[in-house]
Amino acid sequence: MFVNNDVRKSEEMLERHVTQPSEAGHPIILSTEDLHVYYGKKEALFEGDLQFASNQITALIGPSGSGKSTFLRSLNRMNDRIATVTGRIMYRGVDINQPAVDVYEMRRRVGMVFQRPNPFAKSIYDNIAFALRLRGVTGKHELDEIVETSLKQAALWDQVKDDLNKSALALSGGQAQRLCIARAIAVKPDILLLDEPASALDPVSTGQLEDTLLELKENYTIIIVTHNMQQAARISEYTAFFNQGRVLEYDTTSQIFTNPQVQVTSDYVSGNFG
């Protein structure tokens, strides 16, 4: 098999430490098996097998180009048109990486929020209600309720409740990103994937966003890619460290940050690398 030439096959690099989350009360909801992602002929991800515990926050960290975003985007098949993804993605016992699975139905259970806030050019209300309407939720009362709960869950309600009919494009970066979260959770997914959601935000907004995520964890399983190691340490239960297209270390967040098993991880979290 063609392997990325950039991979340095030194002894040090082959060292891996991947565990399984095994806390009682948090069963495995999503896992990947034998996952490989290719962009054309270039293999962008291999040895990327992980298991995710429900109602927990898992952080994916690692240097740029390490494959963590690729991995995340593969989980709800956002890479379908861009890359070739082989292997199994087991969601509650069902392989969602098989062609027979309806991606649109699947994505309603595995939602995603992106790096750059991308509110639609619609009103705040419509941003949230619009996908629901397309799926047959038409009752005004019902919609109002969902919009309100979603915005409350995303900690945005108090700021926008009087401006629901104004354009979402007028929101500030942090507000827009929380609107995107509200939009994602309005369709009631199981799992929420976040791709560096705070990278475009200022520290205050980032703090608010983190608080939101901690609250959301009650109802959702959250997987978050982040560049910010403090953020990973602050909010996540588990952390996976990606490097050069594979997972080098996966353990509880406290283990990764206090007692990493792999030298590269240790270098990375201590800031000597990356």
Binding site: V94, D102, E105, G136
Partner: protein, 309 residues
């Protein structure tokens, strides 16, 4: 286990979105198919008529492309009809290139002005004015050319005033709005953060425009120019009125000459379908198609190179 099966069933059921997706693909693809059918029909139509000159009227292709005499009504000393299209090919070629050469800097300059320097004035004055001008019938352009451009050319350069120069002036004004508004669209699609990044690096506005914005927009600008050239190619009525429309090799920019379209338009109503005279005109249309194909390919190549750099 039962929950898993149920979930699998739910996930594998074709959702409304999937059905809509197929529907959307089918609908949009049929629209494209329709356009392709239209294109194929017209090109096939022109080709079949244009090739008849060579197949059923037995005109030598080489004579057609290099002959300088265009008198389909008359046969020459060898008993062959005089259908030499070279004067028209050269005329079309010259007038298209020249008008594109003149119009491109003006159009891109104006587009840059509208988009980068003074978006406010651009949107308020330039955009409506350019859009307005696209709709003016070519016959009106032709008449203004005849009553303004031709006398001015005559006064400055002598001769009759009819010729490629006058044609270029008229075409320049005609294609300017199209090229400008398409260039403006191309510039608009360059993401804002490109400019911000460049300005943040300490580049001046001009450096940003020249090195970042124009580079990034090259393919779009190329398209705009191609469209302008396409319009220049296809334009008949206005050009016909100021170029002189004489099937002579242009020996200067102010001597009467002709283009493929002007000869085609002038003659097509006066010939009988299926006759040599008529087929010869369709051959001109075919040449026109092929030339525009070649132009397209060249521009595409340039565009690709620009993108790679």
């Amino acid at each position: 286990m039962k929950a898993t099966q149920q979930l699998e069933q739910q996930l594998k059921r074709r959702s409304k979105a999937a059905k809509l997706e197929i529907w959307g693909r089918v609908v949009s693809f049929s629209a494209l198919l329709l356009i392709v059918a239209v294109v194929v029909a017209i090109i096939g139509f022109v080709a079949s008529k244009g090739i008849a000159t060579f197949t059923s009227n037995h005109v030598n292709l080489w004579d057609f492309l290099t002959g300088k005499q265009w008198n389909p009504n008359i046969t020459d000393a060898n008993g062959k009809p005089e259908v030499g299209a070279l004067p028209m090919i050269v005329g079309s070629f010259l007038i298209t290139i020249l008008s594109a050469l003149v119009a491109t800097p003006f159009a891109i300059g104006t587009a840059v002005f509208m988009n980068e320097i003074s978006p406010n004035k651009g949107a308020k004055i330039l955009q409506p004015v350019t859009e307005l001008l696209v709709g003016i019938p070519s016959v009106v352009y032709g008449f203004i050319g005849l009553s303004v451009v031709v006398p001015v050319t005559r006064a400055i350069f002598g001769g009759s005033g009819f010729g490629i120069l006058s044609g270029t002036c008229v075409l320049f004004v005609m294609i300017l709005p199209t090229v400008t508004s398409m260039s403006a669209d191309a510039l608009k699609s360059v993401p804002r953060y490109y400019r911000e990044a460049s300005l943040a690096l300490g580049a001046t506005q001009w450096q940003t425009i020249y090195k970042v914005v124009l580079r990034a927009a090259t393919p779009g600008l190329m398209t705009a120019v191609v469209f302008g050239m396409a319009r220049a190619f296809g334009e008949a009525l206005a050009v016909q009125m100021v170029i002189g429309n004489a099937a002579l090799m242009p020996n200067s920019l102010v001597s009467p000459s002709s283009t493929l379209t002007s000869v085609l338009t002038t003659g097509i109503g006066n010939t009988v379908m299926g006759s040599l005279q008529n087929n010869a005109l369709w051959s001109l249309a075919l040449v026109l198609l092929l030339m525009s194909l070649i132009f397209n390919l060249i521009i595409r190549l340039i565009g690709r190179k620009g993108r790679l750099q």
